[in-house]
Symmetry: C2
Subunit: 340 residues, 2 copies
């Protein structure tokens, strides 16, 4: 029998690909040496079926395509140098819709002090936007997935679960044939999903603080990010359940406390930064940006979550952040060790 990609599963396929390409360690960006710094460089491809719910406007779609790439630059502690976007737009799309997409891109890039410098235009049957972002960070300040040391504090920016809850709201509205969300709280949740705010200022300030020891964005959800950070750093984590900053609005959607927690742990799309901080420098980190301390780094290579004095193992699962017709959606970034 012939092996199909869907049989193999995403992680195993990425393992094969990175082996072929000679890529070892993975970070949110690839790194290219540039004088006394690193060029950090990422690409993310999004498409209609998996990434843009029906209620998303053209402007929101454009914003998202830029935001998800900038988030990877932020996760390295880098300042952005610009973006390119390859846009595959269906030929029967309305011109006004296409223009809105590019306005959304432009507005997102400029909001974060950078620009879309160019790209490629093609037509596909399915709308797809493939972005690439470039950034720069000083060699001694770069933040990578590896670097956490036992005893470091585990931290996250912002609140969690909003995008997952927002997706639930969006899919339910779509199911009812509604294109707008009337309730302001529910609309706020869908905005967290559709208009991610990459943590550019926070990522850069944390790098400049010198207090953080490792970092990545939580685009695949907090749980999977912790598994990636643990693997890269050869460490483990203890997460304090009651310290996880679940977005209070999530309770409007979740079916009870456990469901809200699941949205915060296993939902992709929040685009917050997850990082570790040297305990003696926690005050310096607090001067860089607001964040929550949600746990600490363990020497033992296990990830536990603790509630009411009871520890259980965290599950290595990530929310499939968009429903797809097939179960085993592949979506995984891979990048290389530093290149000279």
């Amino acid at each position: 029998m012939t092996d199909r990609c869907s049989d193999l599963g995403e992680r195993e396929l990425v393992r094969k690909i990175t082996e072929i390409l000679g890529i070892g360690e993975r970070d949110d960006c690839a790194m290219v040496e540039d004088g006394d710094g690193w060029l950090v460089w990422t690409t993310d491809i999004l498409h209609r079926k998996s990434d843009f719910p029906g209620i998303a406007t053209g402007w929101q779609i454009g914003w998202m395509a830029v935001a998800v790439n900038l988030s990877d630059v932020a996760a390295m502690g880098a300042a952005p140098l610009g973006l390119l976007i390859a846009a595959a737009i269906p030929q029967d799309a309305e011109v006004a819709f296409a223009e809105e997409i590019f306005r959304g891109m432009n507005d997102c890039a400029r909001r974060y002090s950078t620009r879309v410098l160019g790209g490629d235009l093609d037509s596909f049957d399915e709308l797809a936007l493939s972005g690439t972002a470039l950034g720069w960070v000083e060699k001694d300040l770069v933040l990578r997935r590896r670097g956490a040391r036992p005893g470091d504090l585990l931290c996250t920016t912002g609140t969690l679960g909003s995008a997952g809850a927002g997706l639930r709201v969006a899919l339910e509205a779509e199911g009812r044939g509604e294109m707008e969300i009337g309730d302001p709280d529910l609309r706020a949740l869908t905005k967290r999903l559709l208009l991610p705010s990459p943590r550019m200022e926070e990522g850069r300030a944390l790098a400049l603080s010198g207090a953080a020891t490792s970092m990545m964005d939580n685009s695949d959800g907090l749980a999977l990010s912790l598994f990636d950070l643990a693997e890269a750093g050869g460490v483990g984590f203890l997460v304090w359940e009651d310290q996880i900053p679940v977005d209070p609005l999530v309770s409007e959607v979740a079916e009870g406390r456990d469901d809200a927690l699941a949205l915060a742990l296993y939902t992709g799309g929040d685009f917050e930064l997850v990082f570790t901080v040297r305990p003696d420098l926690i005050d310096r980190a607090r001067q860089a940006c607001d964040f929550a301390v949600i746990g600490r780094v363990l020497e033992e290579r296990e990830i536990f979550i603790e509630a009411d004095g009871v520890r259980r193992r965290m599950e290595p699962r990530g929310y499939q952040h968009m429903k797809t017709p097939k179960p085993a959606r592949l979506h995984r970034s891979f990048s290389s060790p530093p290149q000279k």
Copy 2:
């Protein structure tokens, strides 16, 4: 009536997009200032329907995705720093086929002294590969689309028409349900289409020679490249028909001399470099690489082709380098003026 992208046409849509993004001049790559040089940076998205004929192997598909991006870096006179690839692979694709794609990418990158440093993996219904390549060139050596001066000599590397003829061979084979081309000459033509050789060494050597005044690759065909160079430089061209280096193999496929010439002028996919050279430095350029002198730069903003002493205007048309079910295929790269 609502305007659709297909009604508007590709050039007008790109004009709108570049206006929204604030992009003025166009080059093969966007440019980001980097010390005493420029980072040059491009993205190209390819997909099954328009870019990969049925006879293409996975390895060839991967090679092509890397080669087309490197060609843009070559066209700026830059040395490559690396590539990223966002790959959207159908879930029912065979694992062996997916692996071949990445082997082709890896082999092409390494052939041209660079590497695929990372990427993104997703699954689409249609196979799509979105690449991005980064390069570096000294500020005083960069070659752009603008720069040609009246009297400069117009030149091209390699031979022309091969990819167009190769496409004809490939489509005819596909029509007959054949997956392999038996005749060695015809197979050589399809290889020019399926395994483009980006002119990395030539582009870099021409930049280092200091003899070239403007350059781009001919990915959309010689004719369209000349219109782009003319527009960027505010000049015109006189092309000597009998000096155009039509690939001799093209005659195996073309219906007579005019058809062979049309394949050389209006066919995309050859990935040669078209450039202008100061006439007093032509010997220095010849030390950089092999090329043909095919005409000269005019002050008058017109593009003529001359045969037997008779001048006619060149048509601004580019061969649609892959057949698509719809006529108005959009495919156009756009990039920005230099960014500091």
